[in-house]
């Protein structure tokens, strides 16, 4: 799977050896894509291997999940996949940081939930589900986090209109006669 990361940012591709965890990852999961952007180590993994890679990284000391986020690359220059998931990992013992990215696509974007690894992922993945509609398989409680439960769209997708589809006007009107 090719990724948009090499054309989207001025990142420089590096060899696995330049990444402190590169060799262990290569041994377990074959060739992956490594890069450095402003001193930040990044690795791109195929979506179907993301859980195993993240589990291995947790074993190797990344005990803190800082954030789970997502980018919609719809109509983005040079992009080949639609949704880019971003896991920001940190180690509280060695002060290392690592960005893990995985790409998923329509029509049913889905990826394995990492709640079994880090409990912090629970609400983070719920937010990504709410805003982007990415399904996290294995999540214990995948409900909307921010938008009301009756909301049907995923508003941070690029094909969702900024002013919505009338959700903000869909309320009863209370006049003086009613109240």
């Amino acid at each position: 799977m090719s990724s948009p990361s090499d054309t989207l940012h001025e990142s420089s591709k590096t060899s696995p050896a330049a990444n402190p965890h590169g060799e262990a990852l290569e041994q377990a999961y074959g060739p992956l894509e490594y890069s450095v952007y402003r001193g930040q180590q990044r690795v791109v993994v195929p979506a179907e291997k993301s859980f195993d890679v993240l589990a291995l990284l947790k074993q190797r000391g990344f005990d803190l999940l800082v954030d789970v986020s997502c980018v919609d690359y719809l109509e983005y220059r040079g992009a080949t996949d639609r949704y880019g998931l971003i896991y920001l990992l940190a180690s509280t013992t060695s002060n290392e940081r690592l960005t893990v990215r995985a790409f998923v696509n329509d029509p049913e974007p889905a990826i394995a939930s990492v709640v079994p690894l880090w409990k912090a992922a629970n609400w983070l993945e719920r937010e990504v589900w709410d805003m982007f509609g990415i399904h996290f398989t294995g999540h214990p409680d995948l409900r909307r986090l921010v938008m009301p439960e009756a909301f049907t769209a995923h508003p941070l997708r690029k094909d969702y209109p900024l002013q919505g589809r009338g959700e903000r006007h869909n309320f009863p009107v209370i006049t003086r006669d009613h109240s």
Binding site: M147, R165, R168
Partner: protein, 218 residues
Amino acid sequence: MALTQPVSQPGASHLELPENVVVSRLDELASWCRKNSLWPMPFATACCGIELMATGAAKHDLARFGAEVFRFSPRQCDLMIVAGRVVMKMLPVLQRIWQQMHEPKWCISMGACASTGGVFDTYAVVQGIDRFIPVDMYVPGCPPRPEQLIQAIIDLQDKIQREGTITGREFNTRQRQQRKRALVEIPQLLTVDASRNPNLQRQLAGSARDLHDPSDLQ
């Protein structure tokens, strides 16, 4: 001296009142009491709420107008001040709080966001609370200064004194609203004859060019 005089005499053309007695209409008396003890319900959701607090604090001293008694229960309030943007998830809460307030009650929409949505023209933000609840006063500003909010409260007091009735007849608004609408019916569109006005011709041609020239957009 005055106390010894009879209040009225048969056949007299006007009432003779004893001292310290004022005659008024009951409606005006009720409105006078109400307007001088407005208890605000602070529905503060954003930066306007900070100005609302400043208005109630010592420097601007809302107590001068009898409106300093902020209560956080809608049951005790008669003036809702919506200060800040209202998102679509919050609007049912706003409506419920408004319905929990007792008559007579009034509403001030404070700031650009509460009145129109302000800069937040997005799927999540309600574009003006007056679409969904009645509003008596609008305060412009982003956020308004405390003086502006105080002016709105003074204006609301004038409105209460002017329109208020002891039985709240002024809130039976359906007929009143229809009467008001009848007064501002939109006149028929003016037909403009451009053939004898070269100035207008130039303007029309210019606006047509702007609309159809895609190079402006790039």
